[in-house]
Structure formats: C-alpha cells, structure tokens
Symmetry: C2
Subunit: 418 residues, 2 copies
C-alpha cells in the first residue's frame, strides 16, 4: 500500500484490514481512534473498541520533522528502526518495552501495545512521585539491551549483521547536530533563558570544554559498542508504581553504551535541580532530591552488577573467547577486563551525560521539568547549576572512579546535603 498519512477515520479502516490484530483487539466491535501525538514528528493514535482491556497504539512517521518553526524533511525509515529496536528490546528485556503487533514498512507505521496506566516519567517526577521498581527495571533494561548486543556476547559476524541493520544516518545526524554541535556555537534554533546569556557564552568560549565535547561527539560517531537506544531520557520512559516501559527507540544504532546510561542519569539530575522551584519546602525538597540522587547511585550500581553478572554467565562473545583467559591468573585478568570496561562506561556516562545536560540548557530542546518553571529567575537557578554540573561531568569524566564521584559533583554545586 502506497504511503499516505492516516487520520482518525482512515486509521480504523486500516486496522480492520490487518487480520493478525484480531488476537489483540476485536476488530468487529465499533473502533474509536484519537490522535495523541504532538504532531511534530509522528502521528500517534490510540484505538479502542469499548472494551477497556482491548486497545492498541498506532504510530506513523510523517515525512518531516518540524523544528524551530521550519520544516525539516526526514526519511520515514525511522519507523523501521523503531520497530526493529522494539522487537530487539522485547527479545532481550521482556516486559520492559511495548509489544509490537504489526509493522507496515510502506506505510511507515507500527501497531503496538497501548500502555494505559503508565505515564511518561517527567510529570510524575516533577510531582515528586516515587517509583519503587524503577532502578531495578531500568538497570535491567540497560544491562540486558547493551550486553547482549555488544561484542562481549555476540560473535564478530553476529555483531556486524546487527550493525548493518541499524545504520541509521538521518536520526544520527539529529543527535550529532543537536546534542554535540549546534548548542555550543551560534545557530539560529538555539534557545536559552536570557538570564543565562553570560553562562551560555562562557560555555561557547571554553576551549577545554569544547575539546572535551568534540571528543564525546567522536565517541558517539565512531564507537560502535552495542545497540543503544540513543534517546533514553525520562520522556522516553513510561512507568507507574509497578511497571516500566522504554519507548520511542527510533534513534537506535550501534554506539557507545555510556550514551544511554548517561541519558538516564542526567535526566534524573535535571529533575532534581528543577525542585529548587517546584518544591519550595526545604525538607520536602531535600528528601526528594536525595531520593533522586539515591536513584542515580542505585541505577549505576545495579546496572554495573547486572552487566558484570551477564558477562560472567554468557562469555561467548568475540571480546574475548574464554580460551583467551585460560591460563594461571587468567580468571583475575578476565575480572580486570570487566572492571576496566565498566570503568570506561562510567567515564563515558559522565561525558555523554554532561554533554546532554548542557545541550538541554542552550540548544533546540529543553526539558519540561525545567521549562515548566514559569518564573525566569527561578528557572535560572536550576539552569545555572545544570551548566556547572554538566561542564564538570564532561571535564572531569576520566577521573570519575565511582558513581558517588558524579553525585558528589551534584551535591557540591547544588548544595544538597544527604
């Protein structure tokens, strides 16, 4: 079927023509569709048939991305990357990504599980909600999706097959431009709080910082370590008290693992800083900020422990075969190889996390946690801290020995006591 954008009428006709969906939703019942996407990037329809247990989401790519008020053509192939990645996540981290029911490449659409009862995390985090299973779930997602797509698990041939399937130039380009480059130079789409003019200009003229950001961009572009989500902020995670689902993996490609881990941690830090405005009560604020910093620690520590355990239990990859470590002292060397690998992922977590923290303050996309602070002066408090913390994460990345070093930078700059 030739590509055409669907609307809330045609989407119903389309779904009735997909018999495989009958297992999920009674297509004979009256179907009702509503568009819930923001309309900038994709169409997103929730389709229901009156039975609360039966509904699906249909997501269709539009052939453009509307940014900064102008139209940016964007290949529709991103829906293929999203579907491939969703299937991979379901396979590797069952229960932690929405199920895929149907994919139509020509129409650039995917039909998937409707995550009713779960909420995108940003708003509940601003509302000081706690997620008792989040550290466990997201660390499992990270450890499993990264380990099982890395050279520590895959053979050389398997890895290249995966890499070929996820060569994703157009979505890469968005991150190359809008994470690592444009925010740090003059570019018309950049957007920042005018109260931060001095800080923003200082970042753009800080040579040591810009050299470090260029190195992080080189890492993003050339270090094909594992299949990464590549946009794993708290707006790409839906959760409630019991469940967690990672959504929107259209940016997926083989890149540096620290980019994903860093995205999760830095978004929790940005939310933490937003509470200087959102939570005026000192005690209440301090408690929730400490909850978030504990979450940062728990996510890294659980991720590292799970990644290491998976590696010990499944050491079948190209890097390195068990026989390579089969000599007196080889066990200790294998353990040291794992330790050094995780230390390097932590350095990258700091570097990529810091870069992304900075770009949220002075690039095209901000985070709702902070833009929802109405008063510019109050907003500037959180933003100034984010610039200081992001800069230090980037600059000090190779000296970071444990996650507590990252947290200590947040505490020092923001004055958050335990």
């Amino acid at each position: 079927m030739a590509y055409r954008a669907l609307n809330h009428d045609t989407v119903v006709d389309y779904l009735r023509g997909v018999p495989a969906l009958a297992e999920v939703i009674d297509l004979g019942a009256p179907l009702h569709a509503r568009e819930v996407g923001d309309g900038n990037l994709n169409l997103v329809f929730i389709v229901e048939n009156g039975n609360a247990a039966q509904s699906v989401v249909l997501k269709q790519a539009l052939p453009y991305l509307r940014v900064a008020g102008e139209s940016w053509p964007l290949t529709r192939e991103r829906m293929r990357f999203e579907t491939q990645a969703l299937l991979k996540h379901n396979e590797l981290a069952p229960g932690l990504a929405p199920q895929v029911y149907h994919f139509d490449d020509e129409m650039s659409l995917v039909v998937m599980e409707n995550l009713s009862g779960l909420e995108v995390m940003r708003k509940p985090l601003v509302g000081r909600q706690r997620f008792p299973n989040f550290a466990d779930h997201i660390s499992t997602f990270l450890a499993r999706s990264l380990f099982f797509t890395s050279d520590f698990y895959l053979t050389g041939l398997e890895k290249k097959e995966l890499q070929a399937k996820f060569i994703n130039p157009h979505l890469n380009k968005i991150q190359e431009d809008f994470v690592f480059t444009n925010p740090f130079m003059t570019s018309p789409e950049n957007n920042w709080n005018p109260l931060l003019d001095a800080e923003v200009q200082a970042v753009r003229r800080n040579s040591e910082l810009k050299l470090a950001l260029a190195e992080m961009k080189a890492s993003y572009m050339t270090h094909a370590e594992a299949l990464i989500h590549s946009d794993l902020h708290t707006g790409s995670i839906m959760a409630n008290a019991t469940e967690t689902k990672v959504i929107d993996p259209e940016f997926a490609f083989c890149g540096p693992m620290g980019f994903d881990v860093g995205a999760v941690l830095e978004n929790l830090v940005l939310n933490c800083l937003s509470h200087f405005a959102h939570t005026p009560d000192d005690e209440e604020r301090r408690a929730y900020q400490n909850y978030l910093l504990d979450l940062v620690r728990a996510i890294w520590e659980q991720f590292a422990a799970k990644f290491d355990a998976l590696w010990v239990e499944n050491n079948r990859g190209e890097l390195m075969p068990a026989a390579y470590w089969d000599y007196p002292g080889g066990d200790a060397a294998f353990a040291e190889f794992r330790r050094r690998t995780l230390a390097r992922i932590l350095h990258d977590t700091a570097g990529h996390g810091g870069a992304k923290m900075l770009r949220r303050m002075m690039g095209i996309v901000s985070v709702w946690d902070i833009t929802s602070i109405a008063d510019p002066a109050q907003r500037a408090v959180a933003e100034r801290l984010a610039i200081r913390i992001g800069s230090r994460w980037v600059l000090e990345r190779n000296g970071i020995e444990r996650v507590d070093d990252l947290i200590a930078i947040v505490r020092e700059e923001a004055g958050i006591t335990p």
Copy 2:
C-alpha cells in the same frame, strides 16, 4: 554469468567478452595468460598480448581460504570489497594504487593494471634496497585515504553511507581471530620457532599484556574512524625506485586509523630485525637498520604533517564544523583538537603495530623477512627482539609522545646505535 573459477584458457575467452578493455589492451592480438597467485586465496592471472605496454591482471576470488592445511570457506564478496577499496584509493590517492579496468560481481573478479616493473617490498627490503620516494608516497597514501574517509572530512550522512558499503564481516573475522586472539592462546594453527617456547608461553600468561591486547581488539572492532586498508604490511605494497602502489585491500572497512599506520611501521621494524641474520657485516647492517628506522620516523612525521594540512585546508566534516571553532581562541582550540587526534592515532599506531608484531611471531602467519632466515638460532635472535619490542609498543602505547619514543624502544632492545 554464473560463477565459475577461470583457468589460463578460459580467462582469455572471458577477457575477449569485455569490450571496455579494448582501451587498455588490443583484444584482437593473440592473448597469453599465466597464473601467478599462490592459489590459497585467489586466482591471479597476468594476461599479455605480446606488446610490452599492453597487459592486465585479472584477480578472481576462490570460494575458500586454505589455511593451516584445512579448507576454510570464505565468501567471494571479498572481491567486491577489494574493488570498492581500489576505486576509493584511486580517487583519493591517485597513482598510489593499481587502476581498475573492469569488475564482475557474479564472477567475483576484477581486471586491473599490471604493475610490471614494481616488486612486492619484502624481498628488496631483505636485499637492502632503498626506496627514495617510499616515505613520501606511503605517507601521502595514509594521510589521504584516512583523512578523506574520516568524520573530519565527511558529513555524518556521507560517513554512514561509506560505512554501510564496507560492512565486511568475514574478512574482519580473519583479523579478529588471527591478529588479536588466537596467537595469544592455545590454538592448533599457531606456529612458532621452538627455540622461543619460553617467550611465547610468557606472552600468553602476561595478564597486563593480554588486557592491553583485548583493548586493541576492542579498538579494531568498534572504532569506525575511517576507511582503513586493514592489511597494510609490506607484502601489500609494491614499489620500485620511483613508484609505490598499495594492493590487496580486500580487508577494507571503517576501523581505527592507527591499525594501518601501525602495520607499515611494524613491518619495517621486523625487516630491520631480520638483518641481524641477513646482513652479517656490522657496518653494512647498522647503516641499513638506521635507514629503516629513519624511514619509520619520516613516514610518521610526513603522515602527521600531511594529515594535519589536509584537515586545515578541508575542514568540512562532521567533526567539527568550522563554526564550532569560531570564537576568540577557537583557532588554538582547533589546532589542539588536531594535535590530540594525531597523538591518539600515534598511541593506536603503537598498540596495533605492537599487537601485529607479536602475532607474526606466534600466530598462523609469519613474515618472509624472518622465515627466510634458515638457521633457527639466528632466526630466534630477531624473533626474541620482536617479541620484546612488540610487547613494549603495546604496553607503553599511551605514554608514547612522538615517533622517536617508538624508535627508542627498538634501539634499546636491539642495541642499534645511530
């Protein structure tokens, strides 16, 4: 035309059926073909028509690679990678690779320039021949083939297109196994001088060295910096006093630049060590060994200068746009980015060069420079030094600040005075 292996009769019929070749060789004249390949990997025919100025080489892939006495199936697609890379090298480094006249994917063959009058470099280097243009030519080849296929020159989209075209899993796997893994563990195809048993076992049990080798393998597998030749030893270079041509790029893929630079330098060092046996006269030996070490210095220094100059003159790549450095002090930061990048390539040159030096001593493939030393005790002199030097290049790589540091290790271990 369905694949069939050609012989010296059918190759002539095949060529007569390719009208495009008429521009290179008179197909109406009586053609004479002889097979000159070693028969293990590819068929190589030189086809002549009696006119000394008119001849071509036809190279055809066989569907297997015969190693260690057993048959190893190998996809014929390697001829496509070789042809693609030859075309790229001709485009980027004109005159430094054989010209391509015809490619037939079905038949897995390429027809190219016959490099009569040039010789594979190993034997003339053993014969103490000097190549007055070699440092200039090979440094130009390295600088141009690497810079113009890197993210410093290509846009993000161009680089991914190149990368997709050169996903080369089966040939990668040969290097992954036989450069970085099998030589350093028990594996039936490994081969070494029995006089070196103790040294070989010591390498296989040296945890610090094995950790470093694992890091170099990770670099080879995941650092997609530029289109590298990926097998650039002196057996892949043909030369005479005036010309230099790089051949056999079937291993080409997007990998770490230091792997190519390291291959050239370490093969010159291995040849240098071979003269302890090949050149008994002290004065004559010292002179040629110093010639080779000067060549190592000249190649690196000219490579670095040319790479840097190309970057300054052609700064259009994704890493980083000129506008990124457009601020007071930005010129110095851009210069520092180039300096750090070349410093990193030198570290990788040491690490990959050292790894390859070691594997030649204890893996499946040796180098003729050294195996041509008939007396095992004399051979062991060169081999022991190669193991010591290779180990130090790998272990000390991140402390190497200039090429003279690499040369100093060779001088110290081998006792070669200037």
